[in-house]
Symmetry: C2
Subunit: 524 residues, 2 copies
């Protein structure tokens, strides 16, 4: 007969906490896999089943994350004492604090609210898609109103606001927007971002204008010449590039999806890209971008994936990793010094007659556009500043939903020097708000700032780093990021981390210096 | 604020049961997807994470399947009454009865037993792999002893035996073996199978001998000539074949794995095959086999996937579907009359100089081998009869584990006319017993019998069916199977279903007639 294991001492409350968090984490990795599979593999007709699978798993995760037993453990550990009354270590206290934050998010929202939000998310997506297709902002406006209302309610439930029933105007809105920002980037607030973006805008608008005025069209022409790149050869090239950058294919893979993304946690990172014979740089840079995300995930300490010690610091830091590899590394002369001969070997046909300088210009083509997702790395930030400005005003009540199209057009003129002909080129272009994802856009630009500041720091510490790139060696950069950024997990928020690693507060100055250094020589 | 939905009447107990079963079903489809992904996509280094994901999901499913609330609902509904005291319909009673069976499996096994079995499964696999690599049966014997003991305990917990502590000998063993058989094929027993296999053996051994004696080596030679078939072209051909057979790629896909299989439930069927340039028939027939499984799954009523009304009748019936498409259809002259020109178009190079008759012989090559997985469709059944005979004797106590190698060799001589040179070619060749999967092998042969009997019935009812094949039309066969087999779900067990659909009790006679009809003209 089965004999029970020999008795062992009862686990400590902290060990019990880890066990709860471990279960939640594993369920979350399964949800990630379902999401990845949905984008990569799911047969067309199986979407309903997948939705049901997502729902049942989400319920299971929610039940685990709001388990009263977990709450009791956290409450006990939050006093800072372990099993025998011994003090918890600083790391343990961090784990408990973050577990508490997650537990509150899981428990403070009433079930009816969560259901209403989920239902609205589906309604919102379809309303947005229809409004965009028909260029009909008026039909979408009520969805935005409702999503703003839900965002304020959510903030209020979590202690970031007054009565969730208050109207759209007044200070409550600002607190709610701070909540939305903090949700994506812990520690940040609208006031901090306003300061950073204001300074960035002051430097970036004239820089973009200078580039635009000096643009002789060569970069665009060079880019247009890159046609007919075999998908198989693109795949091989991309495999070599991502391997050399350090992506560990023993613990991850890359596949194809409509929109590139990176999913998974730690031991199994699934990235995607997309291929187009006439847009070889799009698939390559999408893959490098996702590799940046993947390297970060692979660098988080495996043993701690279930706790704050092994989780990403926030969206801004995550984005800093993807942008640093995509832009500072992937668009550099040193990178292309190494990869250009390989690129030409694979694509000798389509590259015939394209000079090295033309190729480099194609990689670094800058051209203002009305559409964020098509933007280059200079003007991209202006698209984000625009969205931040609008979100801030929506939440403060200074801007009414009905006035959005006009406000968008005015800001577009001011920042990009372009005016949308219709709302599809303006306020209807992004999906984010249809799902209530406010406070999400700023992370993209914060990521660019952090990337540039890290880049300045690593170049100062490791002056040979770009010489390494020219030899196809990216190990020194990766090791530096592993040590300074990845290994820290969630120990420090974006502001703290930047200060600690670079010795200076987060600032847009390094991004502006980097952009000037890279682009002015090409556009002058 | 969120307003609650308008009040609706409380769900009936039967509706509550469906809700429980729906949740369990969806979780099970997620587990299927994890398993599929593991074989198809999982990066090498991510196996530990996947094992943890499987474990946490299995725990979640077990908790749902053994939920006392579910047990109380089943107990209430098992009295045959609905909410208002009205009688449940026959279908509802079936759903309740099968739910009860599953609930008992989920609740009657003590947690310590389930853990011990899971641990033993891992130990068993590694012991088997090592023993096979080193041809060392003695090191594996204790694992088999233990697995037999666990099987008897499991049977006893579920009411199929006396004291789970009883020794290996005596009648208890037989009851336990009946349990193992019933687990895979509800309604079947060792006694029934013994009768069927005895009759099959009496006809099959002389048939295999006759084929062997008349073998002039042409089939083997023809098969050996099929070399250098481009993988891409194989993929395209296989796509065309499986589509024409009726596989719905809007609700499924085919990928590559080391061992072909079919996973998923209903709305998302994931099949696999494997490719080898020098074994084009292997990948093709693997794919057709899995398509047979897939068509069955796709034919189960979607609205009832979570209950017995929408689940497969058992392993034997499942295997009948894969074998019917693979053998009766895929190896027929009519099938090749249609597909040979297409096959030649895709593979004109490697097929140069191969006549139609040689190709057909290659498709239907028969040659006794010691290894089950390499066997043709004639001698395959003898491998199963051998394993059944051994399992039966192990469970009755007539055969000791230590005497297995000799018993295997003796049966191999009797049935196949071949004697293993070592245990790797004998008792160590299969993985099944290392995992405690006794009573599983017979399903393969039962599937062949059922397939042949269905085939006889459909040909009698639809005499034009093979003429359809020759025009590439398989719709009439699929419609017949949909109506007679797939739509029934678990309403009838293998014996009942066969009797209902063919009007006769299950018998090996149709299989023997089919094999004689197909193979004697080729080997005479």
């Amino acid at each position: 007969m089965v004999s029970p294991h020999s008795s062992s001492p009862a686990p400590t409350p902290y060990a019990q906490l880890l066990s709860h968090l471990g279960r939640i984490h594993k369920l979350e990795t399964i949800a990630q896999l379902l999401g990845w599979d949905e984008q990569v593999n799911l047969p067309k007709g199986s979407a309903d089943l997948r939705a049901e699978q997502h729902a049942v798993l989400a319920e299971t995760i929610h039940a685990a994350a709001s388990d009263p037993e977990l709450g009791a453990l956290i409450a006990r550990l939050a006093e800072g004492k372990g099993a025998a009354g011994d003090a918890l270590s600083a790391e343990e206290r961090l784990v408990v604090r973050e577990a508490q934050r997650d537990y509150e998010r899981a428990t403070k929202l009433p079930v009816a609210f969560v259901r209403a939000k989920a239902a609205q998310s589906s309604v919102g997506f379809h309303a947005w898609a229809k409004a965009r297709a028909e260029d009909d902002f008026a039909s979408y406006a009520p969805v935005l109103e409702r999503n703003l209302e839900l965002a304020r309610e959510e903030a209020a439930y979590l202690g970031w606001g007054g009565d969730p029933c208050t109207s759209a105007s007044g200070e409550g809105g600002s607190r709610a927007y701070d909540y939305m920002i903090d949700k994506h980037d812990p520690g940040l607030s609208a006031a901090v971002i306003e300061g950073l973006f204001g300074e960035l805008r002051a430097g970036l608008v004239p820089l973009a204008r200078e580039i635009s005025e000096n643009d002789d069209g060569r970069a665009k022409a060079a880019r247009a010449r890159l046609r007919g790149f075999s998908i198989n050869a693109q795949r091989e090239f991309l495999d070599e590039v991502t391997r050399r950058l350090g992506f560990d294919y023993e613990h991850g893979r890359i596949d194809v999806s409509l929109h590139p993304f990176c999913a998974g946690t730690g031991a199994d990172i699934r990235m995607t890209t997309r291929f187009n014979e006439d847009e070889p740089l799009d698939s390559l840079f999408s893959a490098i971008h996702e590799t940046g995300h993947g390297l970060y995930e692979q660098g988080l300490p495996l043993a701690h994936h279930a706790t704050a010690l092994g989780k990403a610091a926030g969206m801004g830091v995550h984005e800093s990793q993807s942008r640093l590899w995509e832009n500072q590394v992937g668009r550099s002369r040193a990178f292309w010094a190494f990869f250009e001969p390989r690129f030409r070997e694979k694509f000798s046909g389509p590259l015939r007659g394209v000079s090295s300088e033309e190729l480099y210009l194609a990689v670094n083509a800058v051209e203002p556009t009305l559409i964020r997702v098509d933007a280059d790395e200079v003007t991209y930030n202006l698209h984000i500043i625009l969205r931040f400005e609008i979100e801030r005003q929506l939440f403060s009540g200074a801007l009414k939903v009905g006035d959005l199209p006009e406000a968008w057009a005015a800001l577009s003129r001011e920042l990009l020097g372009l005016e949308p002909k219709n709302d599809r080129e303006g306020v209807l272009q992004d999906v984010h708000w249809s799902d209530g994802a406010f406070g999400y856009f700023p992370s993209y630009c914060l990521g660019n700032m952090i990337a540039a500041q890290l880049w300045e720091a690593v170049r100062a510490e490791e002056p040979e780093i770009e010489a390494d790139f020219a030899h196809g060696d990216f190990g020194r950069l990766l090791a530096w990021l592993r040590k300074n950024v990845h290994a820290a997990g969630k120990r420090h928020d974006a502001l703290d981390l930047t200060q600690r690693v670079t010795g200076k507060p987060l600032s847009p100055a390094p991004l502006l210096r980097y952009l000037r250094e890279r682009y002015l020589p090409l556009y002058s």
